[in-house]
């Protein structure tokens, strides 16, 4: 398969995952119970991206000792809980990560 064909297929499948539910579901299908469960979608998906990126190394192995990302993520989380500010959360995490890898 050529590079361009691969890119177009990947683009199509990405679009279809975004489009299919919007196209298929109707407003009448929703009730309070479904809405309640769906309100947990961010909490159910984002950790699946966050945790592996923090706890796994480049080879996909669990990396707990001497892992600056864990401490940096905990600091960012603490800042996030208290400030409820998205920017403060991201920057405190990056700043502590750089402090841990460059200074400590």
């Amino acid at each position: 398969m050529s590079d361009w064909a691969l890119i177009i297929y990947c683009g199509l499948i990405t679009f279809l995952t975004r489009f299919s539910m919007i196209a298929l579901l109707k407003k009448e299908m929703f009730n309070d119970r479904i809405r309640e469960v769906l309100s947990y979608v961010p909490s159910a998906i984002f950790p699946a991206i966050i945790f592996p990126a923090i706890f796994l190394d480049n080879n996909g192995l669990i990396h707990l000792e001497n892992n600056p990302k864990i401490l940096a993520a905990i600091i960012a989380m603490g800042v996030g809980i208290f400030s409820r500010n998205i920017l403060a959360t991201i920057f405190s995490g990056l700043a502590s990560y750089w402090f841990l890898i460059f200074v400590v």
């Binding site: 398969m1 691969l6 499948i13 579901l25 109707k26 909490s43 991201i90 995490g93 990056l94």
Partner: protein
Amino acid sequence: MNSNFKIFLKGIIDVSPLMIPVVPFGLIFGILAIDIGFTPLATMGMSLIIFGGASQIVLLQLFSGGASSLVIISSVGAVNSRHLLYGAVVSEHVSDLKLFWKIIISYFLIDQAFARSNEYFKKSNDKNKYFHLIGGGVTCWVIWQTTTFLGIILGSAIPEKLGLSFAVPLTFLALLVNDFRKMINVIVIIISGLVATLGYNYIPYKAYVIVAAFAGLFTAMILTKIIKKI
């Protein structure tokens, strides 16, 4: 000022803080794609046609590892399966729109715009509230294309040692700050995170994201039911 434009602007403003980590992410993508051997045109093509950071990085990772096209396409589908849930959440708010707008909204249904517009949709009763999602999506689109382009040009002038890829999990962490105070959310977060981390190597085709998401949602379904009974 036209009220649709106001909603569009609010979408831009709401999503802006989340755009800062997109800058290094886009740069890294551009640099990696060229490094792996894609032409500058194909690299731009990926950002324009796919327009999804995680999908594009997975494409690069598997392509450089010599995976077959079928594995690459199905893995991109698995990574993207989270959009099925975003679509399900958003569909309630856009179900009366014309097909044209549904297609536009689908193209712009990215993580950051979804997260911010989902909060907005719950509060707003405006029938044109979908402009909020388009505002957020367009903002990210402009930044994603620009930084991909800059990554292609700058190449390896940006040191890998900075660990800028860590900005990606931090973005998603920042999106959950309001959920860390709620007990059920915290349990759902831990379950999903554990399933993803432990299943990363064992669940084929990078499907760990959607497996973990369903484990989390299933947990939420049970916990919300139990708590109501008490």
